[in-house]
């Protein structure tokens, strides 16, 4: 990488850029004094949490800031051309041709009323016939299997992953000097994400494209980027080449980020997940001195002065006064930051809290008028199709799967928010009726839920106190006064100040809202708590503290917990047992320590291989799964996974329902392939490709 630098001029050269937003008569700097260079042929990763200013920086570089935003200082040069001096009409000539963008949300970035092929070539100014063949060429280049059909489709007719492929093809079609990727895989499933990342890596390498990759996902950066720039609160705090940054981060914030993400295979009994204390300062507050000092575990007196951007060597910059001590290992933010959770004892599971017996939830599809009149049976979507299992007191069951696999429906069926079609549920020792109306208050008390989106989980028009008092009043029959005292106790249990009771949800950050939602769920001491992706919308530094909090409260309350996530690493960290779900059925159930040990179900294998690892040096083989999850209404007989299975055996998988097989460690797998055979081939693959995963 150093080779690029010595001989070539940078493609993108940003110097001392400050971008601000007007707000009334004031303006607030969202990006402060950022300098960065991207050299020909390299991929620079721009990493930061929400509020770090990465999006603003990106927009500023593209000269695409919203009307309230403006550049206060600095220069931007693209390929020797000064972008700041261009007029609005001139910058339009740069967009698409010299800077191409792959946006975050493919669905809203494609024109829904235009065929894919026409959109692809719109910018290219070609004659009708040559446009068509060019479109097909472009689609072939991004490995779309039947490009003719896709070119003739409208965007809503193709899957999200396919839409993102089209956008990548579109961005590359003009051979831009700089390719900007703005979180292009954030909204995609982990399996689709792996495929898109593979595609981006291959295209960028093959074409020698220069790319700027903006993301919050450190695994993605490790996989794709040559160099990384880390942003915090509008400042660029550290930049280095990827390998060195991951090995020896020279800024405590980078260290904190790397430590707050669980790595596949880590469990809560083996590793302490560390959270960064506090939160990112709002745009209108700029504490004096080092911007990170208020949250920094190793801050000392000198940190009250603004640190310069120290040049470590030719490729490394860090904005930390103490980088030398960090480099020698004299101090480390890793030892200094308080570990929030103690490594748990290997727990012994208690009596089952909930038992499911071949639970089914089917949704009828809408029938046409003709079908209704002819009384043909309604087609159904089998969202949950015969799931059995149990969760014990003090136990956490992790439930993983792609979107559409039925995890959320299963959770909602247990909670009573959807009616079941068949099967039995038992809560502790009594039968649990399907649907809320049949449940008494004590049943409601013992089942609680934490929702995915903290913004939606709290009524924005009620104060935190009002929201927290309700469960005490309605479920436990306390008076308003008693409930108020309990609500305050709850807040301190989730490490929030008591005066939060008077605030509205608007005045809280996402992590704080989720803490309140968790507090509310634990208010009535539930026997079973279901968490539906409680951290997927949160930043990584906040995610860790929420995971630790959930675990701590679960242990204190001795509740059972079902933790739903699409993130195998998070589930592996928090859960005691893990169930992998596909198309309404469980594929594999086992202890979390064993999940990442072969043999595993071919679907689990593919899921694990799809997770971008946090280690830039790891050679990771990705097992492609092909088309995304098919609609469960057309699930064929036999194994539901057979059409995508990379270890597909033949007719037996299509026609015969697979048996449950148990491994020596007690893991149960739903597959035809003999376990020793499965284990043998999977172990070999691991030996060949597994890189080191040490921290």
């Amino acid at each position: 990488m150093a080779a690029f630098r010595e001989h070539k001029n940078p493609i993108l050269n940003v110097e001392h850029l400050t971008a601000a937003y007007r707000q009334g008569n004031d303006s607030h700097d969202a990006v402060r004094d950022v300098s960065l260079k991207v050299y020909p042929g390299e991929t620079l990763g721009l990493v930061g949490e929400s509020g770090s200013g990465k999006t603003t920086l990106l927009l500023a570089i593209m000269r695409y800031l919203p009307p309230a935003g403006f550049l206060r200082a600095g220069t931007i040069e693209l390929d020797g051309q000064d972008l700041c001096s261009l007029s609005d009409s001139e910058i339009r000539q740069v967009w698409g041709k010299q800077i191409a963008l792959v946006p975050q949300d493919p669905q809203s970035s494609l024109n829904p009323s235009m065929r894919v092929g026409d959109q692809l070539t719109e910018a290219l100014d070609l004659a009708q016939t040559s446009a068509k063949s060019r479109a097909i060429e472009l689609l072939e280049a991004v490995h779309i299997k039947d490009p003719e059909r896709v070119a003739d489709s409208y965007p809503h007719q193709i899957s999200g992953g396919m839409q993102q492929r089209v956008l990548i093809a579109m961005a590359l079609s003009t051979d831009p000097a700089l390719l900007v990727l703005d979180e292009p895989t954030t909204n995609l499933d982990v399996t689709t994400q792996a495929e898109i990342l593979e595609l981006i890596r291959e295209q960028v390498r093959a074409r020698g494209t220069t790319a700027l990759y903006v993301t919050h996902n450190l695994g993605v950066v490790a996989k794709l980027c040559d160099r990384v720039a880390v942003m915090y609160a509008g400042e660029l705090v550290e930049s280095a080449d990827t390998v060195r940054l991951y090995r020896t981060p020279l800024h405590p914030y980078t260290q904190g980020l790397l430590d707050s993400v669980p790595i596949i295979g880590e469990t809560k009994s083996s590793v302490r997940l560390r959270a960064i204390q506090g939160q990112i300062p709002p745009i209108d507050e700029h504490p004096p001195g080092c911007i990170f000092a208020p949250r920094c575990p190793i801050a000392i007196d000198i940190c009250m002065e603004q640190p310069p951007l120290y040049v470590v060597d030719s490729g490394r910059r860090t904005q930390c006064h103490r980088w030398e001590t960090l480099q020698t290992g004299e101090v480390s933010a890793r030892q200094m930051s308080p570990a929030i959770s103690q490594p748990a004892q290997k727990h012994v599971a208690g009596a089952p809290v909930i038992t499911l017996e071949s639970l089914k939830v089917h949704f009828p599809l809408k029938r046409s008028l003709r079908e209704t009149i002819s009384r043909s049976p309604a087609e159904v979507v089998k969202a949950v199709d015969g799931v059995s299992g149990e969760v014990s007191r003090g136990d956490t069951l992790g439930l993983v799967g792609e979107s559409g696999s039925g995890k959320t429906t299963l959770a909602r069926a247990v909670m009573g928010l959807v009616d079941t079609t068949g099967g039995d549920m038992t809560l502790i020792s009594a039968a649990l009726p399907s649907g809320l109306p049949g449940r008494d208050l004590d049943t409601l008390r013992s089942l609680q839920m934490v929702f995915q989106d903290p913004d939606g989980a709290l009524n924005p028009y009620l104060t935190i106190g009002e929201s927290l008092r309700r469960p005490f009043i309605s479920l436990l029959g306390l008076s308003r006064f008693q409930a108020d005292a309990e609500a305050k106790k709850l807040l301190s249990a989730v490490h929030l100040p008591e005066n939060f009771t008077r605030r509205l949800p608007d005045q809280l950050s996402g992590g704080e809202k989720q803490r309140v939602a968790i507090a509310r769920a634990f208010a009535t001491n539930p026997d079973l708590l279901i968490c539906d992706e409680p951290v997927s919308s949160l930043d990584v530094s906040v995610q860790a503290s929420i995971l630790n909090l959930l675990n701590q409260l679960k242990v204190a309350n001795q509740s059972g917990m079902i933790f739903i996530s699409h993130d195998l690493a998070v589930v592996g960290y928090l859960a005691d047992r893990i169930a992998v779900m596909y198309s309404g059925k469980l594929m594999e159930v086992g202890d979390s320590e064993d999940l990442f040990e072969p043999p595993y179900h071919p679907y689990t294998e593919a899921l694990i291989s799809a997770i971008p690892q946090m280690d830039p040096e790891a050679e990771q083989e990705h097992i492609p799964l092909g088309e995304t999850l098919q609609s469960p209404s057309t699930t064929p007989g036999g194994c539901p996974f057979h059409s995508r299975c990379p270890r597909f055996l033949g007719n037996i998988c299509i026609q015969v329902t697979p048996p449950w097989k148990a491994t020596s460690t007690g893991k149960r797998i739903y597959c035809h392939i003999p376990l020793d055979e499965l284990g043998y081939s999977q172990t070999r693959r691991l030996d060949l490709h597994h890189g080191s995963q040490d921290r």
Binding site: Q104, Q448, G456, A457, L458, L462, T463, S474, R502, Q507
Partner: protein
């Protein structure tokens, strides 16, 4: 896209409550010229309606026999009408008449409309279906036609006009409320309330109503301005309130034949109607912008 541009409210302050929140809304309304103007007009007319009749120089029906169709003067600021009544006094007293009638009508339709909209949106199913189709059939008729039909059956009186306002505006308020309810009722916080065993009425009024209120405030202000318009129009057609009531619409009807001799007797109520409606509309617009900017 703009997640970085996350401007926080003043984090140290507790949530504003009750009267504090009302003052906050008022201050926000006064931060834009257009809505400040509208709000001022609205407040002035309310003030006139409450205290005006105490200060008018004449009563609304008092006839000064030798002073018909006079031009504005120190004695009669807006002149006199064809029967020798003081136009200024009549306009002021008329403000009370019309604002009271339109306000009461709006209030009743907002109460009925909100209750039905909440219930219909939350319950769904056949109840929702039946009620909405019935409301659709009412909405299919032009408001004026519906009013004429009703007044023809009920006979002209103040009570009849109230009934007309309720029948005409309840379906509209109900539909607006229902559309917000449909959005809100699937939010996680409503599900959380159900999981906490809250009663249906507690969910409807405690969880769903508060998010509906801002939209409802805008809708009520708009309905109010239409109600003023409708009451005046019915007065003008002669089927609303009956003489000698100083209804602005009625005043226009009575004086329009004498427009060449005393235009001010005609124009004064016309201008009063326009200003009130423009003022209320500007205020509704300001409320709407307030709502859309996310502040409450």
């Amino acid at each position: 896209m703009l997640d970085d541009h996350n401007i926080k409210l003043d984090k140290e302050n507790a949530a504003p409550l009750g009267g504090q929140r009302f003052l906050l809304v008022l201050r926000k309304l006064y931060s834009r010229p257009a809505s400040a103007l509208g709000t001022s007009i609205f407040i002035i007319f309310i003030f006139l309606a409450v205290f005006g009749p105490l200060v008018t120089p004449y009563t609304a029906t008092e006839q000064i026999s030798n002073a018909a169709l006079q031009s504005p003067s120190a004695d009669h600021w807006f002149g006199t009408d064809n029967l020798g009544r003081d136009v200024f006094s009549r306009v002021i007293v008329g403000a009370r008449e019309i604002l009271l009638l339109a306000g009461l009508g709006t209030l009743l339709s907002v109460i009925f409309g909100t209750s039905l909209g909440l219930l219909s949106g939350y319950r769904g199913g056949w109840f929702d279906e039946t009620l909405m189709r019935f409301f659709d059939s009412l909405l299919a008729l032009p408001a004026m036609l519906l009013a004429l039909l009703l007044l023809g059956t009920l006979g002209p009186s103040t009570n009849s006009i109230l009934i007309v306002l309720v029948v005409v505006y309840t379906p509209i308020v109900a539909r607006v409320t229902r559309s917000v309810v449909l959005d809100v009722k699937n939010k996680a916080y409503v599900e959380a309330a159900r999981l906490q065993g809250e009663s249906t009425s507690r969910i409807i009024f405690g969880e769903i109503l508060p998010p509906v209120l801002p939209t409802l405030a805008v809708e009520s202000a708009l309905r109010f301005s239409y109600a003023i318009f409708l009451v005046a129009a019915l007065g003008f057609l002669g089927i609303g309130v009956q003489p000698p009531n100083p209804n602005w619409g009625l005043m226009v009807k009575e004086t329009r034949n004498f427009v060449s001799q005393s235009p001010w007797a005609l124009y004064s109520p016309v201008i009063a109607i326009s200003i009130t409606i423009i003022g209320v509309n500007l205020m509704a617009d300001g409320l709407k912008q307030l709502l859309e900017s996310g502040d409450r």
